[in-house]
C-alpha cells in the first residue's frame, strides 16, 4: 500500500514541474492578410527594412501600401483622404513631422484633419514627448504608439568623452527642425554637468533643401575661431540628408565630429556616434505592429520604447587621421567601420 502511494506521489512530482515549466504556445497568425499603409519621408530607409523584416520573420501576412512624401509633409493630407477610403488595419509613419501631420499633436486633435480611429505606429521619432505627440511614453492615451531611435543624450556624450575630451562642442542644426531645436536645449542642460560648452551653429538649407559646401564654410570657420574641439550632428533630417558636404568641410577644418544617428558615421566618415541602428529600431516598430495586429492589444496599451542596447559606431580611419585612438574597452564592443 505504502509503495503504491509512493509511486503515485513520485509520478505526481514528475508531472508538476513539467507542467509548471511548459512554455506558452505561440499564436498562430490569421489566415487573411493585414493591410498596412506606410508613409515614408525620404524613401525607403533601413528603418522600413527592419520593420518589414520583423513582420516577415514572424510569418505575419501583410499587404503593404507605400507612399513617399519625399520631404513634403503637406502630401500627408492627401494620404489621409486615401486612408479614410482604404481603411487599412494599421498605419506606419516615418519621422516626427509625418506623425504630427497624421495624428495631430496631443490635445490639438481634430478628427476631420487627423486619423483618430486607425492604429498608427511611428518610427524614428527622436523625442515624442518633446515634440508634443504624447505626454507619457507609457501610453499615448490614443491610437498612437511607436519606436524612438534616440539614445539618451547623457549616454551618447559619456560615450564620446571616453574617446576624446572636449571643452567646446559645436552643435550644427537647421533651425526649422523642431526636433533639433529641442535637442539643442537638452544638450545645453547636459553640458553644464559634463564640463563642456555648447556652441550653436545653425545653418539653413536652400530652397531645394540642399546645403552646399560653400554654405558650410563660414559656419566651420566661425567654430574654429571660437576654439571648438569637436562638432555634433544631431538627429536632424536636413543635416542627415546633406551630411556629405557637412562632413567634408568639417574634416577640412580639422574638427572631429560626432553624430546622433548612424548614417553620418557609416556613409560620410563622421568619427563616431552612439546610435541605434535604424534597422533594429524598425524591428522594434515591427514588434509593436505585431502587438496591435496579432495580439489585438490597443495602441494606447502599447508603450513607446527605444532599444535597450545601442551601438558605438567608430570610423577608425577618421579617428586615426586625428591621432585619436579609442580605449581598448570601447573597441571591445564597438562597431568599427573602416581601417
Amino acid at each position: 500500500m505504502i509503495y503504491r502511494t509512493l509511486l503515485a506521489l513520485l509520478v505526481f512530482c514528475w508531472i508538476a514541474p513539467v507542467h509548471a515549466a511548459a512554455p506558452a504556445k505561440s499564436e498562430a497568425p490569421k489566415a487573411e492578410k493585414y493591410k498596412i499603409y506606410m508613409i515614408l519621408y525620404r524613401g525607403m530607409t533601413d528603418a522600413e527594412k527592419g520593420f518589414l523584416f520583423h513582420l516577415k520573420n514572424r510569418n505575419i501576412p501583410v499587404d503593404i501600401v507605400t507612399r513617399d512624401c519625399n520631404k513634403d509633409v503637406s502630401k500627408v493630407s492627401e494620404y489621409i483622404t486615401e486612408i479614410r477610403s482604404m481603411k487599412p488595419d494599421l498605419i506606419y509613419a516615418f519621422g516626427t513631422s509625418v506623425a504630427a501631420k497624421l495624428v495631430g499633436l496631443e490635445g490639438k486633435v481634430n478628427p476631420r484633419e487627423h486619423i483618430t480611429d486607425i492604429p498608427v505606429i511611428f518610427n524614428i521619432v527622436a523625442d515624442p514627448v518633446g515634440a508634443k505627440l504624447v505626454s507619457n511614453l507609457k501610453s499615448s492615451g490614443r491610437n498612437l504608439t511607436g519606436a524612438t531611435h534616440l539614445v539618451p543624450l547623457e549616454g551618447q556624450f559619456k560615450g564620446f568623452k571616453t574617446v576624446m575630451d572636449f571643452k567646446r562642442l559645436g552643435f550644427v542644426y537647421t533651425p526649422n527642425e523642431k526636433n533639433a531645436v529641442l535637442i539643442l536645449e537638452k544638450v545645453k542642460e547636459l553640458s553644464k554637468g559634463m564640463g563642456f560648452e555648447v556652441l550653436p551653429a545653425p545653418i539653413t538649407p536652400d530652397a531645394d533643401g540642399k546645403i552646399a559646401e560653400s554654405a558650410v564654410e563660414p559656419i566651420m570657420k566661425q567654430l574654429v575661431q571660437k576654439k571648438a574641439d569637436a562638432v555634433f550632428f544631431p538627429s536632424d533630417s536636413s543635416i542627415i540628408s546633406n551630411i556629405q558636404s557637412l562632413a567634408k568641410v568639417t574634416m577640412d577644418h580639422r574638427l572631429p565630429s560626432f553624430s546622433a544617428t548612424e548614417e553620418p558615421v557609416r556613409k560620410a566618415g563622421v568619427m563616431m556616434g552612439v546610435v541605434n541602428s535604424y534597422f533594429n529600431v524598425g524591428q522594434l516598430a515591427g514588434y509593436k505592429a505585431e502587438q496591435i495586429l496579432v495580439k489585438k492589444i490597443k495602441p494606447q496599451d502599447v508603450p513607446i520604447e527605444t532599444l535597450n542596447r545601442s551601438t558605438f559606431l567608430i570610423d577608425m580611419k577618421t579617428a586615426k587621421s586625428f591621432d585619436i585612438y579609442p580605449p581598448v574597452m570601447v573597441l571591445k564592443f564597438a562597431e568599427v567601420i573602416s581601417q
Binding site: 505504502i2 512530482c13 577608425m316 586615426k320 585612438y325 574597452m329 573597441l331
Partner: protein, 693 residues
Amino acid sequence: MRSSKTTQNSANKIRVLLLTAIAVVISFFLLSYAALDIFRDELTPEMEKKGRALAESINDLVLKSVNYGVPFDRLRGMGEYLDTLNVKNPEILYIGVSDNKGKELYKSDEASAAATTKIKTTSKAPQILPSSKAEMIVTTFDISKDGQKLGTIKLGMDGKYFEKMVDKILLDIVTVGLVSLLVAFELLSFIISCYITSPMRTLYAYFDRIKNKDFSFSLVSSTKDEAGNAFAAANTLVDKINLKYLELRSRLSAASGDPEKLAPLRDKFSGIESQYQFATGTAKIHQPEKLVEYIKWPFFLLIFSDALSISFFPHFVNSLYQPLFGLSREVIMGLPISVFMLVWALSLPWAGAWSDRVGRRKAFLYGALITGIGLFLSGTAQTLIDLMIWRSLTAIGYAIVFITSQAYINENTKPEQRTQGMAVFLSGFFAGSLCGAAIGGILADRIGYSQTLFVSGFIALIAAFFAHKFVIDGDLSLVAKKTKAKASDYFRLLTNRHFFFVTFFSAIPAKIALTGFLYFCVPLFMKMLGGDQSSTGRGMMAYGLVIVFFAPYIASHASSLGSRKLFMVIGGLLTSISLFILHFNPNIGAVILAVAMLGLAHAIGLSPQFPVISDLCADECKSLGVGTVMGIFRMIERIGNVSGPILAAVLIAALGFEGTFMWLGWISLFAVVVLAIHLFILSRRPVASEGSP
C-alpha cells in the same frame, strides 16, 4: 541504590558520547586533510589554466585593436582594462603587457609594487613554477600578428591563494564538523535506544514478571543480534520451567497409587499453581518496551530537513518575486512564511485528531512523506503562487509530524516524567533546527536554493523511512479521545485576565520576534550587510544553540510561580534589548549577538508561560482540562507566528531595517512593561474568570 545507578548511567553516557566524539572528530579531520590535499593538487593546474585563458582574452582584445589600426604602443585604457580582470580574479597579483624588447608598456593599475618587482626578477625565461609553495605563479603569453611578435603578456598569480581560500571556508568546515558531531550523537543515541536500551529494558521487565511468579509470557526473539540471543536464552529457560510444570502436572493427574501419599503432593501442587502462572497452550507475547526516544531521531531529521531553508527562504521568495494584489514588495516576501505558519496552525487540530485515529506510526510516516514532497516541489516553484501552494503542503505535513511527535511523547511518558519528555521533544526540535540552518546556508551558497530544497525533501523522506521502520504504535483504543474546544471555552479563557495578559503580552510578542525578526528580517538584513548564506546560517544557528544550552538550567530554576513570572519578564526585556542593540549597531556581529540574545530570551521566557497560566487559571484548567487550555493557548499564540513576517515586512517597507528594529524593540518593551505591571502590581493572587463561583 538509585542514585548510584543514575550516576553510573550518566558516567556511562558520557563515556559513550566521548568515544563517539573522538571517533567523529578523528575521521572528520582525516577526511578534511585528505580533501585539502586533493584540493591543493588540483588547484595549481586550474590556476594555470585560468591564467592562460585570461592571457588569451587579453591577446584577443589587443589584436583586435591592432587590426583596427591602433599602433601597439598607443593602446589606450589598458590600465583600466587590466584592472577589471584583476578585480574579477582576486588571485591575480599582476598583469602586464610589454613590447617585444621586454619593456613594460601597460600594467593593471592595482598591481602592487612588490608584485611588479617580483615579476621583473622572475621572468627571464617564460615558465610556470609548478608548486604552489612559490610566492607567485607566472604565466607568459606572446602576442603575435602575422607571425611577428608584437609583445608579451605577463600574469602573476598568488601562490598563497590556496591557503587564503582555505581560510575563507574554515568557518564552514568547522560548522560542518560540529553539525556532523551533533547528527552523529543523535543517530548514535537512536541506535542505542533501539538496539540496546529497549531490549535491555524489555528483558528487565520480563524478569520482573518472572520475579512476580509469572512464567506465562515469552519474548519475541527473531532478531539475530545480541538482544535476540539474550531473548532466546531467556525463552529457553522459561520454556524449560513451563515444560517441567506440564510434565509434573500430567504425571500427577495420571498417577495412581496410594491416595494418602498423593494428596499432600496434590495440595502442594495446587498451592504452587495458585501462586505461580505458567504457560499453558500458546504463550502470551511480552511486548517490547516502547521508548520515547524512538521518535527523536525521525523528528530531528524532519525538523532538520525543513530548517535547511531557514537561512535563505526570503531570498528564494525574492527571486520569484512578482507583483501580487497590489502589495508592497516586502509584504509579498513575508507572505510565504506567514502562509506556512497559518496553514500549520490551522492544520494542527485536524492533524491531531487524524493522528489519534490512524496511529502514530502511520501518521508520522505520511506526515513526513507529505513534508518531503512539499519541500521538493517548493524547489521546483516557478512563481510565487506555486511556492505558496507547496509551502502550504509542507506545512500540513509539518503539522502532522509535530502533533504526532508530541502525542507520542505524551503517551509514552508517565505524568511525572512529562517535563523530561518535553525536553526530548524540544531538544530534538532545536537541534534539528540549528543544524539545518547552518548546513542549509552552506549548501545554498554552493548548489543553489532550489537544489537545497530538493535535498530537504530527500532528507524528509529518510525521516519517513525511519518512522516506518522503528516507530511502534501503542494500543489505539487506549488513546484518550480529546474533546474539541468550543468557542465558549475560548471566550472563557480570554476573559480571564491572567490568560489574556500572558498570551497577548508575552507569548504572542515572543512568536512575532521569532518569525518576524529571526525568520524574516535576519536573512534579508544579513544579505544587505554583505553576508553570504553560510554566515546567515551560522548566525541563525546561534538561536538554537543558546536555547539548547541554557534551557535545561533555566527549567531547573523556574520552579515557583514567582520565579516563573520573573523569567517571563526577563525574557521580554532581553528581547527588546537585543533589538535595540541591533538598531544602534547595524553590523553582522550585532546580528549574531541579537540572535543569541533572542535565544536566551526565549530560553528563559518561554517555558514558564504555560505553567504560569495553569497556575493562575486553575479553575479553567480544572473544568476544561489542562489539555484543552494548552490547546487554546497554543492556538492563539500562533497569531504571533502568522503575523510576525507580515508585520516585519510592513515595518521594513515603511521604515527600513534600522527603523524596524527600533519599532520592534519598542513594541517588545511596551508588551513586557504591561505584562510586568499586570503580573506584579495589579494582581496579587490568582483570579478566576468573572461569573464563576
